[in-house]
């Protein structure tokens, strides 16, 4: 948690990026503690790995320190406090942490996933069977999201005509467009 606060306070962007990587890594650890190994694995690889690398790459292309702004903004603080209050309010009726009688653990669909999936799918890792089969459509969507991000970044960052090292094909393409 202190990491998160340090991220906000620090002006130096290098440190904040590294700290956000550390933050992801710590949360991956927390996910393991909370029995979510698959999620932890992904968070460590993506949050601590890919995001950090990309952020460092961006920093190399832009500025590394943040400008100090003196004005103190009340509105954002107000919005945040309001949202936080709403969330705290919502927790008051939540089932407690680890409560086995919480609605999500009782009844369907959780029970079928846990007790029938090895029969229906035949894969020990329940997360995999839910991910790839029961909710395969979501995962298709997820793959498309990644694809979209790839296309978006290429659209934004690839300079025209840098694909071909010879450079001749694209000149032709441009001329007869």
């Amino acid at each position: 948690m202190s990491t998160a606060i340090a991220i906000v306070v620090l002006r130096d962007l290098w440190s904040s990026v590294i700290l956000s990587g550390i933050f992801s890594l710590i949360s991956a650890g927390l996910f393991v503690v909370m029995d979510a190994v698959d999620v932890a694995f992904t968070e460590a690889a993506v949050g601590a790995g890919v995001s950090t690398v990309l952020m460092l790459g961006t920093l190399a292309l832009t500025d590394t320190s943040e400008k100090r702004s003196d004005r103190f903004q009340v509105l954002p603080l107000l919005v945040v406090l309001l949202t936080g209050a709403a969330l705290i309010y919502s927790t008051l009726d939540m089932p407690h942490y680890g409560d086995p009688y919480a609605p999500i653990h009782l009844g369907e669909p959780a029970n079928t996933y846990i007790y029938k999936s090895s029969n229906e799918i035949g894969v020990p890792n329940i997360v995999t069977s839910v991910l790839a089969s029961y909710r395969g459509y979501d995962t298709l969507g997820e793959t498309v999201v990644i694809f979209t991000a790839g296309i978006g970044v290429l659209l934004l960052l690839r300079r025209s005509c840098e694909m071909d090292q010879e450079g001749k094909t694209c000149v032709n393409e441009e001329s007869h467009s």
């Binding site: 690889a45 690398v53 229906e120 395969g136 995962t139 840098e162």
Partner: protein
Amino acid sequence: MKRHYIVRVISKLLIPCIFLFALYVQFHGDYGPGGGFQAGVIFASGIVLYTLVVGLDRAQQAFHPRIIEILVAIGVLIYGSVGIWCLASGGKFLDYNALADDPVRHPQHGQHLGILLVELGVGITVAAAVVSIFFAFVNRGRS
């Protein structure tokens, strides 16, 4: 990078291990944590390391951006065509049971096959997308 022998040698040892680990994660996702997504990221990180060691030009010769870009699309297409294949076999979209030789008695076979292919699609897309995003950033920085 030419003179950093330690880095070069260690990475040369490390990179095959990373690829191997990625493959392990890819195909072992049924039994332990992991799956196409994680494997894709690990595979991509191997390529990123390779790029850092040998430089962008040689890396782009080995993994041509155009091919990587097509691979991003291919992954999605694999996933989608598994769904279409299920349709063609008389099931609903993404109904892997339809893929089994004997859907009534051994639907798991179909499920296994479906999950394997789908995870492969995810892995390819993720790996290729991360690499192409990385290349895009690095290329932008050069010129």
